[in-house]
Amino acid sequence: MIDFSLDLALVAGVSGLLSLDRRAAFQFMASQPLVAVSLLGWMFNESSLGVMLGAYLQLLWMSCVLFGSNVPRNDTLASVNIAGAVFLYGRHVGEIDPAVWCLAILLGAPICIAGQWLDIKLDHLNLGLATKADDAVRSGETRQIAFLIFLALIRTFFANSTATAVFTASMLYLLTRLQSVLTSNWTDVLGVIGLYLIPSLGVAVALSMLRHRRGIVLASVTFAVVATILTQGYSA
């Protein structure tokens, strides 16, 4: 139980730090699903699975972009929770097979909406900080502004860490319950979803980012050429 709590705290802590990178500080893109999930995979000794799962999730959330004042779906929170639940399952429950991570993606995908809501709430709370900054400057306490920035960072960190702890623990519970009652039919369904549905949806999301129609034509031609080369190699 202590081991599990420590692992959960680790996932929550990493999620808090990554949430800072996502919007509040640095924005080095370590919070992108590909990097975030790879990092978690490395921490849980599941490097290859982490990188692969990160690649799938990166494609699925490729279109989450912070354009202007728009608050997009929170891809970081969703990815870290999905990966966290999968890696904790591998360490504390049983073997991670494709059905487990497919189920985790299906269960965890809506967390991006909860994350978006959390971001909006944090932005509303920051309004108070802007008012305090006005007061601080008016009264000549200009050093107070650094403290306000620190407060905003701490708030973002704790809000995201707490959300991660709750979501990951709930997802792990659901994963364990569902995995134990899955029949072979459902394992087939999850296999097909993991093999066809998630990749094609991921590529479609990424393609939807392309500004020119010629880009989509180019992608289709590349697909045909590479698929033919790979298929011929396979037949040979």
Partner: protein, 265 residues
């Protein structure tokens, strides 16, 4: 006109600019819906303003930077650098305090548009598509490559913007325009398209080598058709999560039906 300023000309050393650069990484920390990045901007620029002003002048200068401000975080360096130069001239008495507010007001939108177009809509999808293709081809360090590729541009432009912005003042906007980032962004779209086509082909190959193989050569067509259907759905503003659930439900129904209609003995 501000007369009680400190030794304004040349007061901003490289060390001060480095402090401003470090603080610019936190420009979105207290982002809010009313005035967006105003607290972050005030935090960034305050080391420079402290070198230029003191007392009530400092408070007034800080208040100028607590107004509405919203630009692309990576392009903020250029605007901050140029604002520091204008503040220096205000402190010298050669410009009006309103000039800095006007400069920010007119330039934050165009800079945000360049940054959004270059970083968010082009470089990030391009670098991510390249890294995903790398991962699928077995290159496990591809995520690190993604970080290096992206941040070379990010840190380069942020640092260049701040230092050259301070040197050139308002001319920095012309300099950034000359970098032709939007044109470069257009080209990366085509490269990203190439990578995405290859990624889809690798997925098709994986499906052909899996236990869920359907029939000879059907898998690539199936994957491609699903991709186009999803693309149409996304273009019609159906969210990714809704599409995922709709398709998962459809897949589950189909597999259940096929397994019950054609049971394997």
């Amino acid at each position: 006109m501000i007369a009680s300023s400190k030794n304004a000309r040349g007061a901003i050393s490289k060390w001060v600019l480095l402090r401003v650069l470090w603080r610019s990484f936190f420009i979105q920390a207290a982002s809010n819906f009313e005035r967006m990045q105003n607290v972050g901007l005030c935090f960034c620029i305050s080391p420079a303003l402290r070198k230029l002003y003191s007392g009530e002048d400092l408070n007034q200068a800080l208040q100028r930077h607590l107004q509405f401000f919203n630009t692309h975080p990576y392009m903020s360096g250029a605007l901050i650098g140029a604002s520091i130069r204008i503040e220096e001239e205000i402190a010298n008495g050669t410009r009006q305090p309103d000039d800095v507010s006007n400069f920010k007001r007119y330039m934050m939108g165009p800079m945000a548009a360049i940054g959004d177009s270059f970083f968010w809509a082009s470089l990030r999808p391009f670098a991510a598509a390249w890294a995903v293709m790398g991962v699928l081809s077995g290159i496990l360090w591809a995520p690190i490559g993604f970080l290096i590729l992206f941040n070379l541009c990010h840190l380069g432009l942020r640092t260049f913007g701040l230092f050259y912005g301070y040197r050139d003042g308002e001319q920095i906007c012309e300099r950034i325009h000359k970098l032709a980032l939007v044109k470069f962004a257009d080209r990366t779209h085509y490269l990203a398209a190439l990578f995405l086509g290859a990624i889809a082909a690798i997925f098709a190959d994986r499906a052909m080598n899996s236990p869920f193989r359907l029939a000879d050569g059907v898998e690539p067509f199936l994957l491609f058709s699903m991709m186009l259907i999803f693309l149409l759905g996304l273009k019609r503003s159906i969210s990714m999560v809704s599409l995922l659930y709709l398709a998962a439900f459809g897949t589950a129904s189909l597999v259940m039906f096929l397994n019950s209609a054609f049971p394997i003995m």
